[in-house]
């Protein structure tokens, strides 16, 4: 009798995942969970309703909506803003091409960006900074993204070409943004004028791209048998990890300036970038070292057995496995770095947060609107941090971290 019932149960086709079933399975599956649901559901409901009411009726978003360009590029001269636009378009185009070539996660990211551009391009509001030119530019980026996709899908375009493109873009962007002194077409723009999201991205992207190779080198250095290399790596890592980022920022921003002669002064933004990079490199190094230790000795022995030299063993056998093993930790480190860049405010760099503070303090009326401004900035940070963690999870799945050895 009982065994018959059990077989019937097994044979029954799976139920469609109805709402009621989902609620029963997830919210009321035991008396304790039912109690928790009954207590917390009203709390969550009222909180959400109140936040929505506040956001749409009480909150005054003037301090956010009035200054889109300030949040985007800071004080970058408005006549030269097209240079930022070209840099962004180049990235959008390459993103499209990568989507066409590799698909997968890049597809979701591309579509998300495309939708964001399209939404802003046709946003039905009257705004003097969202004029026809700006709308055309945003719409143009959507087309550029799709064009990139089509080009990326062509047989003639190989992955290598796109990688080369990504390699050129940072140099192109920096060249475009800084310009040349005395040039008619590209007059120099002092980095003190760079700001907003532009600086946040530059510091994060620069920090990530530069810190990772340094981190790998330090991790290898720390495992090296050469005493000088080992000691240098160890001291560097432990010194940087032993002090907070604020200290390192002050160190680079103030102490370095006191040490170096006036003629060889390093640009303020570069100083901040150096601080962020070294800080992140020390942590990446320890992450990578963890990965190196996870690679079984047999792998190295096998590599040697097939006749690989030390460098080949490291580059083709050890590092790929090591980095794959610690990918989640490394991405976590990059997300932390992205958020940590807000600290550059304390050395006088107007990143997104700094611009927000400047706006709040520029008009006495806006002092009352700080909640809205900070909330907006928090949401921007959340969106990009979440995109990064989403990307990392997809990448882990693709590489088979945690499923394959």
């Amino acid at each position: 009798m009982t065994s018959q019932q059990a077989t019937q149960e097994v044979l029954r086709p799976p139920q469609p995942p109805g709402l009621i079933k989902w609620i029963r399975d997830n919210l009321f599956n035991s008396w304790f969970n039912s109690l928790l649901t009954v207590i917390f559901l009203p709390i969550v409901f009222f909180a959400v309703v109140n936040i929505i009411i506040w956001a749409f009726t009480v909150a005054d978003w003037r301090a956010v909506t009035q200054f889109p360009m300030l949040y985007a590029v800071g004080q970058y001269p408005r006549d030269e803003v097209w240079r930022v636009g070209i840099g962004l378009s180049a990235i959008v185009f390459l993103l499209g091409a990568s989507w066409g070539n590799w698909g997968g996660l890049l597809q979701s990211i591309s579509i998300a960006f495309g939708i964001a551009f399209a939404v802003f391009a046709i946003l039905p509001v009257q705004h003097d900074q969202l004029d026809l030119n700006m709308r055309l530019y945003l719409g143009g980026n959507v087309i550029l993204l799709l064009l990139g996709y089509l080009i990326g899908r062509m047989k003639a375009v190989k992955g290598g070409h796109i990688v080369i493109g990504w390699g050129i873009v940072p140099f192109l962007a920096v060249f475009l943004l800084t310009g040349r002194r005395g040039s008619e077409l590209l007059p120099d723009v002092a980095t003190t004028l760079w700001g907003g999201l532009l600086v946040t991205f530059l510091l994060s992207a620069g920090g990530i791209l530069l810190s990772f190779p340094i981190g790998v080198a330090l991790a290898l250095g720390r495992r090296s048998t050469l005493p000088v290399v080992k000691a240098f790596s160890t001291i560097f890592i432990e010194t940087i990890r032993g002090v907070p980022l604020i200290t390192i920022l002050f160190m680079f921003s103030i102490i370095l300036a006191l040490f170096l002669p006036a003629e060889s002064r390093i640009d303020r933004l570069v100083r901040a970038l150096m601080a962020v990079t070294f800080f992140s490199a020390a942590y990446s190094a320890e992450n990578v070292r963890g990965g190196l230790q996870a690679v079984p000795l047999g792998q190295i022995e096998a590599a040697k057995a097939v006749g690989m030299n030390g460098l080949q063993t490291m580059v083709f056998i050890v590092l790929p496995q090591a980095i794959r093993a610690v990918l989640p930790a490394i991405v976590g480190q990059f997300i932390a770095l992205f958020k940590d860049t807000t600290l550059v405010v304390i050395v006088g760099i107007n990143d997104l947060l700094g611009i927000g503070r400047s706006i709040i303090n520029s008009d006495p009326e806006f002092v009352q609107l700080q909640l809205e401004v900070y909330l907006f900035i928090a949401i921007v940070y959340w969106i990009f941090s979440y995109l990064m963690s989403l990307a990392s999870r997809r990448l882990e799945a693709a590489l088979g971290v945690s499923t394959k050895l």
Partner: protein
């Protein structure tokens, strides 16, 4: 053994590397540097300023720097380079403004800096007091408090770690009164808390109190008491080691003040060049030498500065006057000495 030895050697190498940078720092101080030459060669005056203080250094919608401190910088650029837009504003925080001046990273520090003896000896040369500020108190009008004698037991909102907090403590101790401090890191948080009624009193420099009050929903419901408990003479400063530059900046500041005394404004500066008044003619470089030969400037350098930003009163009113862009603060001590204020400058002749 040998491993320990080599570790020791590598530490020594690293230390040697670090200390090899020190002579560079010393050499820089000894060399000084002709700042004015650098300014002329660069074609731009680099000013230490800020972007986050209403009235003094703020941003407009297009991201341009503006404010009282920024206009002083523009005046210097107009005098030296003939172009008030030839400035670069480096946003500085309270922590790095001193080192930025010490290392001559900025040619001119015009960032709401209080002139004190230790800063004068350590940071650079302070030119001329351009704004007399002082710490004051703001209370609600309906609080019933009329003077500081009734402050005993009050709750005070204040920013942490500033001289403001120190002055507050000193004031209450000297008067034998108790208070409870509600401390915040961020300035806007202080005033939000005050407006929400979390404290009876808030304290800061009077210019800031006036600025914040103008942003309140009901500005008239709050009063700033007459008492001033600290001296905050805000003064533009230049790095040590270049007397010509020091004199140049000082003279531009004097010129703005003298221009107000003499009734020379942004608009009438051209016609005033034909004035009957000998002092006006001297100021505008039409008569005699106000020092331009020695400083290597054009005779009309000061006239250019006035044409660019206006006289002292015009600069003040642009941001803090009755129709000011930022807020309204009565001139008070920042009136000319002839009007009962403290603003006074040596004659231009």
């Amino acid at each position: 053994m040998s491993r320990k030895l080599s570790t020791g050697v590598s530490i020594l190498i690293i230390l040697a590397f670090v200390f090899s940078m020190v002579p560079a720092a010393v050499a820089q101080e000894a060399g000084g540097g002709e700042i004015i030459d650098r300014v002329l060669e660069r074609g731009k005056v680099v000013c230490g300023g800020r972007t986050d203080l209403a009235g003094f250094g703020m941003l407009d919608e297009a991201g341009n720097n503006m404010g009282f401190d920024i206009d002083l910088c523009r005046a210097v650029a107009a005098a030296v380079l003939g172009d008030p837009t030839a400035i670069e504003v480096v946003p500085l925080t309270a922590a790095d403004r001193g080192p930025a001046l010490q290392t001559a990273e900025v040619d001119l520090l015009s960032r709401n800096v209080t002139w004190t003896s230790s800063r004068d000896s350590q940071w650079g040369n302070f030119t001329t007091i351009m704004f007399y500020d002082g710490q004051g108190f703001m209370i609600r009008e309906d609080s019933g408090i009329t003077s500081t004698d009734e402050f005993d037991g009050a709750t005070v909102c204040v920013t942490s770690g500033t001289t403001t907090e120190q002055n507050l403590a000193d004031f209450f101790r000297q008067n034998g009164m108790e208070y409870e401090a509600v401390i915040f890191e961020e300035t806007p948080a202080v005033y939000s808390a005050y407006e929400e009624g979390r404290c009876d009193i808030t304290t800061s420099d009077k210019s800031q109190l006036a600025s914040v009050r103008s942003g309140f929903a009901e500005p008239d419901a709050h009063i700033i008491l007459d008492i001033t408990i600290s001296k905050e003479p805000l003064t533009p400063a230049v790095p040590h080691g270049d007397d010509t530059w020091f004199d140049t900046v000082k003279l531009v500041m004097w010129a703005l003040i003298n221009a107000e005394e003499l009734g020379v404004t942004m608009d009438n500066v051209e016609e005033m060049k034909g004035s009957e008044n000998i002092n006006v003619l001297r100021l505008l470089g039409q008569e005699g030498d106000w020092g331009y030969t020695d400083l290597g400037l054009a005779p009309e350098a000061l006239a250019n500065a006035i044409a660019a930003v206006g006289n002292y009163g015009e600069v003040y009113d642009r941001y803090m006057g009755p129709e000011g862009l930022a807020f309204t603060l009565p001139r008070g001590p920042n009136n000319l000495w002839t009007n009962g204020g403290l603003i006074y400058a040596p004659p231009i002749k």
